[in-house]
Symmetry: C2
Subunit: 173 residues, 2 copies
């Protein structure tokens, strides 16, 4: 536990806020914690009947490059994660999921952010037209699971949630 | 690609900075991107001869709970990731690695941060005394890979890099 002495929000933004907390540690020392507040997000492992995984290519300003990722998106206020997963899958790829199964949730970077990622498995996919947000330019790519694993090992898939989501497929019961 | 029109750093902190970039998208629209700058980090899958994985329990202020994670830590300025991995493993767990193998690197949350996580496999471990930073209170826990996978599926391991790192073990060649 770390007891909060003082908490100050130094930035409120469109997607994230930044908070500075001064805390007392268990050993009595004090420390400052920088916390990036995030609304939470979902990621979707969308698996086709032929075994391909539906992924998206997207330019990511924060890392100044195009990344190959699982479809994903931020939760809207009060939105149920499963609803968000269904929505984001269709917006980004055009597919709708006949079956959507919750897998696990994890923190993407708990050292400095409360962002939680809820991961879903989408199957029984029906093709349709995508409808990305105005500030999103996404391209759909479908690759086999073996190819995806090869791309993870070669460093060609560089997104944490995407690595976790694809590898989760290998341990599902 | 997104062309940057203007870039403004609104916060400079101990671990992170926050930058606001206004950009032009490929479709000609403009957008604002919030970017959390981070020095990068390493994570270590430390595997004992008996198959146990060496993990750490640590209170994480950002998510207000104790998480079970792989040993990990931030890169110091100019530090080589392998040196950082060796250092953090010993500081947090007391173990030194006879063999340290680079696995992959990934972005923990590329939608808003440039944080990159370099993942290593540490084997041939020698026990010793840990030496955590002043503001770190960590407890070492050793668990079998089967138990770790079970804990991932049950939602008891909730840290993204830890899920990715443990599951990477299953695809290594």
């Amino acid at each position: 536990m770390e007891k909060t002495l003082e908490s100050k929000r130094v930035y409120e933004g469109r997607i994230i806020n930044l908070r500075l907390d001064s805390v007392v540690l268990e050993n009595g020392n004090t420390a400052m914690r920088e916390v990036v507040e995030h609304p939470g997000a979902v990621g979707i492992v969308a698996l086709k009947e032929n075994g391909d995984i539906v992924m998206v290519k997207q330019y990511r300003k924060a890392v100044e490059q195009v990344l190959l990722e699982l479809p994903a998106g931020k939760l809207e206020q009060g939105e149920d994660p499963a609803d968000c997963a269904a929505r984001e899958l269709t917006e980004e790829t055009g597919y709708t999921a006949g079956d959507l199964r919750y897998l696990v949730s994890f923190y993407t970077s708990p050292g400095f952010s409360n962002e939680v990622m809820h991961m879903f498995l989408a199957t029984d996919l029906k093709e349709g037209k995508n409808d990305p947000d105005d500030d999103e330019m996404v391209e759909t790519v479908e690759i086999s699971r073996d190819r995806a694993i090869d791309m993870i090992l070669k460093g060609e898939i560089k997104d944490g949630k995407t690595i976790a989501g694809i590898l989760l497929l290998g341990i599902l019961k």
